[in-house]
Structures are given as C-alpha cells and as structure tokens.
C-alpha cells in the first residue's frame, strides 16, 4: 500500500503516540516532493501565487503559456498575454496540460525489460545504467541501421537531435499522425513558401475554407479561434465564412454556410470558381495571376471545369459555385483556405494546390487580411520547421525493420504504432528491430514494445525553446522553463541525448558540446541576444536570459516574412479523379475521418478533462462515434447508440456507436480520431461505485486510423486518410452514447423565440 499524505495523517490521528514519536514533527516525503524548481522563496509562501511563462507542449503549435504555481504546485495554465500567437488565450488542450503533468499513468523512472517484449514486465534501473545500455547498443550497432523516431522537433532540441543523428549516422524520422506534408507541399508549390503561412483571418471579411477545420484542432487552434472572434465582431465589418467540406465540422457549424462537397472533389470546385472568376469577374481579379494559372492561355483551358460540369461530380450546385466566385470577387479582403480531408484523398495535393491558387487570383497573397508569410528562423541552425517524414517513408522504415535491417530503434514523442493504419503492420515490424529504446513519458502503443525506457520529463518540468508553427508572420522563439521540480525520476530527452553523446565520444560528443539542455537553450538565447533586435534586447547575458524567461520568448515584429517572388503554377486542365479503397457494393459509404477537437491525433486521450470535453458538434464524450445521416439511419433501422461494424479495405473492421446527425450526407460516415488506445494509462475516474467508474487512456472505443487502407496522396507521399470507402453493419448490440445533449428534441423553433438570431445590419 502506498503511503499518501492523506493516509499518513489518518494513521497519525489513529495512533497518536506513534505519530508524535515517529512522524509528529516531520513532513512526509511525498509532501516535499513537489517543490519550486527555481526555489524562489515566494513560491513557498502559502497563499501567494507565482506565474511562470513557458512554452506549451500540448498540441505542437509551440505557443506561449503562463502557469500559476502555488507552493510548488502548478495550478492553472493560461495563454501568455505577451505571446504573439496565443495573446493570452487558450483552447481546451492547452488548459489540460496540468493533467499531463500530474497524470497518474506517467512513467516514473528508467526501466529495463525483464520479461518478453510486450509483456510489460520492467525493472527500474538507474539513469547511469540506462545510459550505459543505450551507449552499448549504439556502439555495437551499425549506425546506418539505427533509427530515431521523434515528433517533428523544432528549436534547440530539434537542432540537437538533428546534429546527434548526423554525427552518429543513423536515420532520423519525424512522425505526425495528422500529416502536414501535403499542405506544406501545396504551400511550397503554390506560393514558393518554405514555411506554413499565417492566415490573417482577423482582418479578413470573407473566408472560403475547403475542408480546413481551422476552428477545431487544425494547425494552431488558439490563433484561429482568436482570429475568428475578431473576424466576426472585431472593429471591421462582420466577416462571412463559407465552409466547403464533406463533413459538417466544427468550422462548418460556425460558418454562415456549409456547402457539402463529395470527398476528393474540393479541387474541382476550386478550379471551377477560378473559371467563373476569370470568365465573369475578369475585372475584379489579378490578371497576371490568371495568366499564370492558365499557362498564359486564358480561361478556355479550364473549360472542363464549368460550374455545370463540376456540379455533376462534386455535388455542389452550379449556382452555388457562381455565388462563391461572386462573393470572392466582391470582398476586398477574402482568403481561401484548404486542408483536412480536402488534402487527404489520393488527389489531395492537386486539390490543395487548386484551392490555394485562388488566393493569387483574388489578390490575397502577402497582405493583411490574406495569406501572410512567415520569415525564416532568426538563427541559421535553429529549425523553425518540424520535419516529419511522409507516410511512404514510414512504410519504408517499417519494411526495413521487418526485414531486420534496423538494429536499434529509438522513439521519442511519436506513437506510430497507434497512428499508422494496421495495414502497415508497424507493431509487428517494430518487433523486427534489434533493440527498441523509448524516451516516452507515458506508456503507449509504441513504447509497450520497448526494451529500455528512459522516460522524458513533461514539458512543464523541462528546459527548452520552440518556434511556433505556423508563426504569426514574424520571427518568434518561445522559451520554455520548468515551472515545477520534476515529480519523478525522469530526465529530459535533451539531457539524455547529451549524456549519451558524451559517452559515445568522438564526433558525436563534439557535435553536442553542451553539458545540459539548459545550457544549450541558454546558448540559443545568447545568439538571439547577439542579434540585438526584437522584443528583448540587453547588453547583459544574464538580464537577457531573465527577460526572455519572464516574457516567455523573443520576437521581432519587424522581421516579417517576404511575399515569395514566384507566381502560381498552372492549374490542371483536367480533373484529377480521387481514388477510394475499400468496399463499394452494398451499404457502402465514404469514410471521412476527422480530427477530434479535444483529443487531437490521440495524444490527449489520457487526460480526463479532454476526454470529458464535449465534441462541439455532437457533444459526445469519452467515445468514438460514427456520424451517420438521419435519413440513411432511418432507412437502415439504426438508432443512436447502436453498435456499427465498419469494414474498410482488406476486411479491417472497427466497431463504434452510431450518432445520428442532421448534417451528414447519406453516402458519408464520419468518425473522429483520438480514441482506441490499448496502452496509454489505465487509471480510473468516476464515482466510488465500481460500475460507474471508467478507465482513462485505454479501452475507449476504436481507433479510426486502424482500418484505413495504406493509400497515399499522389505527389506528397502522405497517408490519404480520407480515401476510404467502408461498409457498415449493425452488430445487434446497442448502448448509451455518453454525451452532453439530452435526447434530441425537435422543437427548436421554441428556442428561436427566446433566442433572437438576427441578420447583420449590412452585408454584401
């Protein structure tokens, strides 16, 4: 039995004598465990709060947060009001960071496998033993047969990991469950921009978004939600948002109009809009861009994309296409966005290119209220872009591992065993690796196969820095400092890299000359200081360091991104047909997976707050659900809560509960990401009656990644996660879907009487 402080007090009061003799005047160790990192006296004054600025490690956008610390415990996370991206704001994921820190399922010490792989039998070892073992395996391995799998790393840690693998000689592969590869390729090809741009929706008056669920967890949720507020009711005229998407997403729910488009047909609609713009609104658009987009031949080469023709394939009516084109031409500050499922069909890259090209036509490239570009990193060797290998590289790595060509596989911050479709067979491939070393803070589907675990701190315990991605249009480096003393016997991944490098010696040690992660971050700060520009400037290294920590980062409003010189590449003259894998006969549907607003790619699934945050559109919690159109459900005799078996390509199946949804097309089913973990913590929450408790992390409905076909997006090699067709079947079981909303009641009109929904005073 563990001795907790509470139990300790209980026992003390029971055996008063014992308490006085043995415990009366001492503080139990567990109470001392959590203490201020910096040991500033004000931290320990009861009742006084201290706020520390640091960098957020939750969703990967790299924004600044401030953390409230009282008596050495982190109590609350807020956005950093100074930080250019978050500007004091936050979304659910940011708030829930505390539950990462205090998660009961954290790995607490370095561990070595004692049983067979996957048995979960580990023995705690010392850090020295752990490092020695890593060094041994790296020394004895052929560097070419070593792989390091990480999350997309930026900033100093990204630089260090890059240098480490460069000096050592292995393969470093970044992993993103929800790839930006296609988006980045499109942005690169359409704008010539190396970094993701910022979309200045704050100052925009018309947003046409194809599949980009930017109000949910797309790229930089806080930034876009903040921008949306301004877009609606900021100083300018109320903006209009149109969402063209195959799913009724959270962004669609907020849009002035949701336009249903058949999966994979977003590009055609975009080209058709371009066609209408060029033919009907030639005066209102950028003629040079029109010229470039048609290879100098004029709108006639786009003749296959007349609204009437596109309406046939896309399901978007010709009038609607004309209406959208007209609105784009009329609004001076419009933006066209694309992403999500629009870029995740086999023709995703072609779709996104067509979509983003529209920005050239309407002149929204590189101006306020349009697409704003981000400058390069302020420091040459400080990566501002998190590099992630596309799906095809991961398939390649899996093949090599399966073939026994990987002697050491190291993994940090990545969980490919969860996020890659089972068709890749990653778990079985991983077991082909000679040695598996994990630096994860949590047990997960990849780490469960590890031979050696060197648990990382969580972000609130570590030193570091980050470059927000996408940035706000100028140079920003966010600094990260530990806000609490590490809770357990964990070590930062950066420190582990340094320790291993030192042991390995020679070129690897030389490439990483720092003693600690903190020192490396300090050096980055010194380099920024040397720039002598931006938000923090000081002649004194110490005061510069203190100032960037206090403000949570460094930024330079004047170091703006340039509008890239190139014009757009020509649009395709014939439609690129999307291809779909999976059953097409019987009760067959397009499967449109979508990213959970709170759980993201599944990383948030071990945090009870996020599990219990209702999905904005369906209000479902704690589950994977299947969104099915009401009419289709009626036809198939399906009720809410009925278990449905979803069968995809290769007969791969998942079972999830039905949610009937008025905003789903009858030929589409939509399933959120994020659930379906099998190894991601196993603590219980809920009332003190066992049948009302549930586990967190594992066993919460299926994983939508699992049944996907290993289809690729042409031209980018990314996983085409929206290129599947599935059949559905009732299993006969039925359950209760946990959600905030009660049984839907139809009398909405009553609500309208109490809730005046008005028309804006003036509109185009």
């Amino acid at each position: 039995m563990r001795t907790t402080r509470r139990k300790f007090l209980k026992w003390s009061s029971v055996g008063a004598l014992g308490a006085v003799v043995f415990g009366g005047c001492t503080i139990p160790e567990s109470a001392l465990l959590v203490q201020s990192p910096v040991r500033m006296p004000e931290d320990l004054v009861s009742g006084l709060e201290a706020w520390y600025a640091t960098s957020c490690g939750q969703c990967g956008a790299g924004e600044g947060i401030i953390v409230r610390v009282i008596e050495g415990r982190a109590i609350k996370i807020e956005g950093n009001p100074d930080h250019p991206v978050s500007r004091g704001k936050s979304v659910a994921m940011c708030q829930a960071g505390l539950q990462s820190l205090y998660n009961p399922a954290r790995l607490r010490a370095p561990m070595k496998l004692t049983g067979s792989r996957g048995s979960g039998q580990y023995q705690e070892i010392t850090w020295e033993e752990a490092y020695a073992e890593v060094v041994d395996s790296l020394r004895s391995a052929d560097p070419a047969r070593v792989a390091l799998m990480t999350e997309p790393l930026r900033g100093t840690l990204g630089m260090m990991a890059g240098k480490f693998m460069e000096a050592y000689g292995g393969q470093h592969l970044g992993y993103e469950a929800l790839e930006r590869t296609t988006l980045k390729a499109a942005v690169q090809q359409v704008f010539g921009a190396e970094r993701l741009p910022d979309f200045d929706i704050d100052h925009s008056d018309y947003i046409l978004s194809f599949g980009a669920d930017f109000l949910s967890s797309w790229l930089s949720p806080t930034r876009y939600n903040r921008g949306y507020g301004e877009f609606r009711q900021g100083g300018n005229e109320r903006g209009t948002l149109i969402q063209v998407e195959s799913r009724f997403s959270m962004t669609a729910a907020n849009a002035d109009k949701w336009v249903f488009v058949r999966p994979g047909r977003e590009g055609e609609v975009a080209v058709s809009i371009a066609y209408v713009l060029m033919t009907e609104y030639a005066g209102a658009i950028d003629a040079a861009a029109a010229n470039a987009l048609t290879g100098g031949q004029g709108a006639t080469v786009l003749g296959t994309f007349t609204p009437e023709a596109v309406a046939q394939t896309s399901g978007v009516s010709a009038e609607r296409i004309r209406e959208l084109a007209k609105a784009l031409a009329e609004h001076p500050n419009s933006i066209v966005l694309g992403g999500g499922s629009a870029g995740a069909t086999s023709n995703g890259l072609s779709n996104l290119k067509a979509i983003y090209s529209l920005n050239h036509l309407i002149g929204s490239v590189g101006r306020s209220g349009g697409v704003v570009f981000n400058p390069a990193s302020p420091l040459g060797d400080l990566p501002a872009e998190g590099k992630a290998g596309p799906f095809e590289e991961w398939q390649g790595l899996a093949d090599r591992m399966r073939g026994g060509q990987v002697q050491v596989a190291m993994v940090h911050g990545a969980n490919p065993a969860y996020g890659l479709p089972t068709a890749v067979g990653f778990e079985e491939a991983l077991n082909g690796a000679g040695k598996i070393i994990s630096f994860s803070s949590f047990m997960d589907e990849t780490t469960r196969w590890a031979d050696l675990i060197l648990p990382d701190h969580v972000y609130l315990e570590s030193w570091g820095d980050d470059v927000p991605e996408p940035g706000p249009g100028y140079q920003v480096v966010t600094f990260q400092q530990p806000v609490v003393r590490p809770l357990y016997r964990t070590r930062a991944f950066g420190d582990s890299l340094l320790a291993v490098a030192k042991e390995l010696g020679s070129s690897v040690a030389a490439a990483l000359p720092w003693a600690t992660m903190k020192e490396a971050v300090q050096e980055t700060a010194l380099k920024l200081q040397a720039l002598a520009r931006g938000s923090v400037q000081s002649g004194d290294a110490r005061s510069f360091w203190n100032a960037v920590l206090q403000r949570g980062g460094w930024w330079d409003l004047d170091a703006k991104g340039e509008r890239p010189a190139e014009g757009p590449p020509a649009l395709p003259t014939n439609a690129v047909e999307p291809r779909f894998e999976g059953p097409t006969s019987g009760a067959s549907f397009f499967l449109v997976p979508f990213v959970s607003n709170s759980l993201g790619d599944g990383k948030g699934a071990n945090l009870p707050w996020l599990q219990a945050a209702p999905d904005p559109v369906t209000t479902v919690v704690w589950h994977t659900w299947v969104e099915l159109s009401m009419s289709k459900a009626q036809e198939l005799g399906i009720k809410e809560g009925d278990e449905l078996e979803i069968e995809g390509a290769g007969g791969r199946r998942i079972v999830a509960k039905a949610y009937l949804h008025p905003g789903v097309s009858p030929d589409v089913v939509c399933i959120p990401t994020g659930q379906g973990h099998t190894h991601y913590g196993d603590f219980l929450v809920g009332p003190d009656v066992s049948r009302f408790q549930n586990g967190v992390g594992t066993g919460r409905g299926p994983n939508v990644f699992a049944p996907l076909a290993a289809a690729k997006v042409e031209g980018s090699g990314a996983l085409a996660w929206a290129a599947n067709r599935v059949s559905i079947r009732k299993t006969g079981n039925s359950g209760r879907l946990a959600k905030l909303e009660g049984p839907v009641f139809p009398d909405f009109h009553d609500v309208e009487a109490y809730w005046p929904i008005r028309k804006p005073e003036s509109s185009h």
């Binding site: 009332p687 003190d688 009656v689 009302f692 009660g742 049984p743 009553d750 609500v751 009487a753 109490y754």
Partner: protein, 458 residues
C-alpha cells in the same frame, strides 16, 4: 331495515382486545415478513446514504424523484385521520365511532413516514438538522423563512404533535380497560398510560372536551399542511406546471380523497383480519363511499381546472407540459392508468348502493384510488421537472432506480408494521367510543332520518 347488534360490554372488550391480549399466529407471520422488508430496505437506505444519492435515478433536470412523490403521497394519506375524526366528531356523526382510532393512527404513522422521505432524499441526514431545527443562533444565521421547505417542517411537526395528542387523549379510557386486564409489567405500563383514569364523570367530561378542542384546533392545521406541501411546488417560477394558484386546494382535496380511501381500505382489512364484523359494519363503508363520491368529484374539478389554465392562456410552455404529462411516452400510459384508477372506475361505481354495500368491491375500489393518486403525484412532480423547456439542452427523462423503488416499498411495509404493532399494543377500535355510542343512541341514521334501532341481545 338495518339491524344493529348491541353487544354486551364484556363481549366488546373481549372482541376488541383480542389481539392486544393474545395475538394469533398469522399476526406474527405478517409482522416477521414486514420486519424483513423493513430491514432489507434499511440496509439499502444505509448503502444509499453511504455512497450518495447518485444511486437514485434523479439527475438533471429531474432533481426530485419518487421519494418526493411518496412524501406527498403519505402526507396525503395522513389527511384521513383529522378529516374523519375531527369533522365527524364536530358534526356528531354517530357512525364515525369505529373509524376514528384507525384513521388517527394512520395519520400519525403516515406523517412520520412522510417526514423520513426528505431525510433520505437529501442524502446526508447528519447535515439537515439545522434546516428543521435552526441552532446556528450565534452567527445570526437563521433558516430562510421565505422557503417553503422551512414552512414544511413546522406544519408537519405541528400536525404530528396535534394528531399524536389526539390519539393519546382518545386512548386513555381504553388504557384503563387494558390496565385492568393485564398483570405484571404490562399492567404497570398500561397503568402509567391510563394516567389514573377512573372513569369519573369529570374525567369523561374533560376527555370529551379535549377531543372537541383538539378537533377544532387541528382542522386549520390539516388544511395548512397539504397547502404548504403544495407550495413546495407552487412557488417554483422556474417550473411552468407547478407555478399555479390552485395547487393548495387541489392538493388538499386530493389528499383527502386518498386519505379517506385509505381508511376505507384499512377498515375493511381490520374487519377481515380481526373479525370485527360487528363493529365495522356496512353502514360505515357505505357512508364513507358516499363521502368519497363528493370528495372525488371536487378533486376532479381541480384536475380539469389545471388543464384549463394551459388551454385558456395558450401559453406554449404550459401546453408543452400538459402534452408531456398526458400524451408523451413514458407518461401517457401512467396518465391513463391514473385517471381510470382514481376517478373513472371507482367514483361512478360508488353511486350504486349495491356496490357500496359490497365489502369486497369496496376494498378493491378504494385500494385502486390510492394507486391512482400515487401516480397523480408522480405525474405532477416528475414530468413537471422533466419538461422539455427551452435551454434544457441536457434534457432527459427519469427512471427510478431499484433502490428508490425499494425505499418506497419499505415505506409501505413500515406503515403496516407500525399499524400492526399498534394493534398489538392498543385496541384499533376505541372501546369507550363504541360503548358510548351504544349508550347514547339506540337510534341510527338512515338517509336523513333518525329511526329507532332494533336491539338484538345475543
């Protein structure tokens, strides 16, 4: 021509004290069964109090469940005692005599049981003391006298005190009779309880005066108790269907309907169980049935007025609630059962003398009235809260949990257990009253006329 059997006093004593002096075997059997149910129910209550009210079926927005339904029901039942004893005593209705004691005792016990419901309902009995018994004087914090939940305990405890006194006053002469027929420790106990009763004229006079005074005193209390219980609901502006002015009289007359029906059921049971055919006679049941016709019809008027409110104002929220109560699953079957059981079946039936005089039919028909009236409370309370109001996004209907159902069942068992225990300790029919009646009147009332009764000595 009705025959009235005038029994010799020793025989009356023997009959009515039969159970007190020596209870039959079946009596102990029933007691054991009821005791078992009560013990099982108490264990469940303990479990509920330990784990929390989460074990009930209540949830947003239906915060009050069948424990409150049952609370209102038992308060309703308690209205039988005073109704019969006080009104009939004041109006000198002769036929009341065998009915009064049972009715009064039923009042006391059902009030006690009713008061237990909110205690369990609040979930933490150790916390609620300062609600009913404000003790927090030192901080100047009193209870909130604007809250009907503060009026409730005062009304209920006043009524309980009054009706307990009522029972005790009426018991004194009978205690003396038992005192004289028991020995040993029982003799001593009954001696104390007889309070030195010697049956002197002065004592008889005082006893009668006390009875009248208490009757007069208790009548307003009886009206107030259920009025106040109705205000628990009527003050809620947040609940459309509750917020109506007729609730007080509507609840009071409903309470009388269910209370008097319960007395009928109980008297027939007593007649069967203890073989008191000579005391509980056709005329009693028949008179009560006539009374019930009047009360039931009065109640029906209020029932319809409630619907008229919605129809007359055409207030959409009101109409939505009535729709929910009467036409929406799962409430419509309950509504149908309720109106049939509490009015449409029994009341017209009782217009026929043949039915009124058939003890068996009277037993069942009076019993169903209370099943119906229980459902009536359910249909007022639960759909009222489960209404599909605007801004009730997490709307859901209510299903009582097993434990709640068992607590309700236990409440019934406990009332029966207490009544039977009472029947073991004291005569359920007042000896003195019967004798007094015999002596006072060799006349009986038939219709509007007083006629001489035929005395048949056996």
């Amino acid at each position: 021509m009705q025959q009235r059997v005038a029994l010799p006093h020793p025989q009356i004593n023997a009959d009515l004290l039969k159970n007190v002096l020596k209870a039959p075997a079946w009596y102990w059997g029933i007691m054991a069964f009821l005791g078992g149910v009560v013990i099982f129910g108490s264990v469940l209550v303990a479990y509920l109090l330990n784990k929390g009210f989460g074990l009930s079926g209540a949830h947003r927005p239906v915060m009050w469940g069948i424990l409150i339904v049952d609370f209102v029901f038992w308060i309703g039942i308690s209205h039988a005692g005073v109704m019969l004893s006080a009104i009939l005593r004041l109006s000198k209705a002769e036929w009341r005599r065998p009915a009064t004691r049972a009715a009064e005792v039923l009042t006391v016990f059902s009030l006690m049981i009713a008061a237990l419901h909110p205690v369990v309902h609040a979930g933490r009995p150790w916390r609620i003391i300062y609600w009913s018994f404000p003790y927090d004087f030192s901080r100047g914090l009193w209870v909130n006298i604007r809250s009907p939940l503060v009026w409730d305990p005062s009304a209920i405890f006043t009524y309980l005190t009054g009706s307990t006194l009522f029972v005790i006053v009426a018991l004194i002469p009978d205690m003396a009779v038992i005192r004289d027929r028991t020995t040993g420790i029982r003799h001593n106990i009954y001696s104390v309880m007889a309070m030195g009763w010697r049956g002197t004229p002065r004592q008889w006079k005082l006893q009668v005066v006390a009875g009248f005074l208490l009757s007069a005193l208790l009548l307003p209390v009886f009206v107030s108790v259920h009025s106040i219980v109705s205000w628990d609901f009527a003050v809620m502006i947040g609940v459309e269907g509750y917020h109506v002015t007729i609730f007080a009289p509507y609840f009071v007359i409903g309470a009388v309907l269910s209370g008097v029906s319960a007395v009928v059921t109980m008297m027939i049971l007593m007649k069967w169980m203890f073989g008191w055919g000579n005391y509980i006679r056709q005329e009693h049941i028949e008179n009560l049935a006539k009374l019930l016709v009047v009360i039931g019809t009065g109640w029906l008027y209020f029932f319809f007025v409630e619907f008229i409110f919605a129809l007359y104002s055409l207030e959409s929220q009101e109409i939505a609630l009535r729709e929910l109560q009467a036409f929406t699953w799962p409430y419509w079957p309950l509504a149908l059962v309720f109106i049939f059981l509490s009015y449409i079946i029994p009341i017209p039936m009782w217009m026929f003398p043949g039915v009124r005089r058939n003890i068996r039919i009277m037993f069942w028909s009076s019993l169903v009235v209370n099943v119906g009236m229980w459902l009536e409370r359910f249909l007022i309370i639960v759909p009222g809260l489960a209404r599909k109001q605007v801004w009730t996004f997490d709307w859901s209907t209510y299903h009582p949990s097993f434990i709640e159902v068992m607590i309700v069942v236990t409440a019934y068992a406990l009332v029966f257990l207490l009544l039977l225990t009472f029947a073991k300790l004291f005569p359920l029919i007042p000896l003195f009253d019967i004798k007094e009646g015999d002596i006072l009147g060799d006349e009986i009332v038939i219709g509007k006329r007083r006629v001489p009764a035929l005395r048949v000595e056996e």
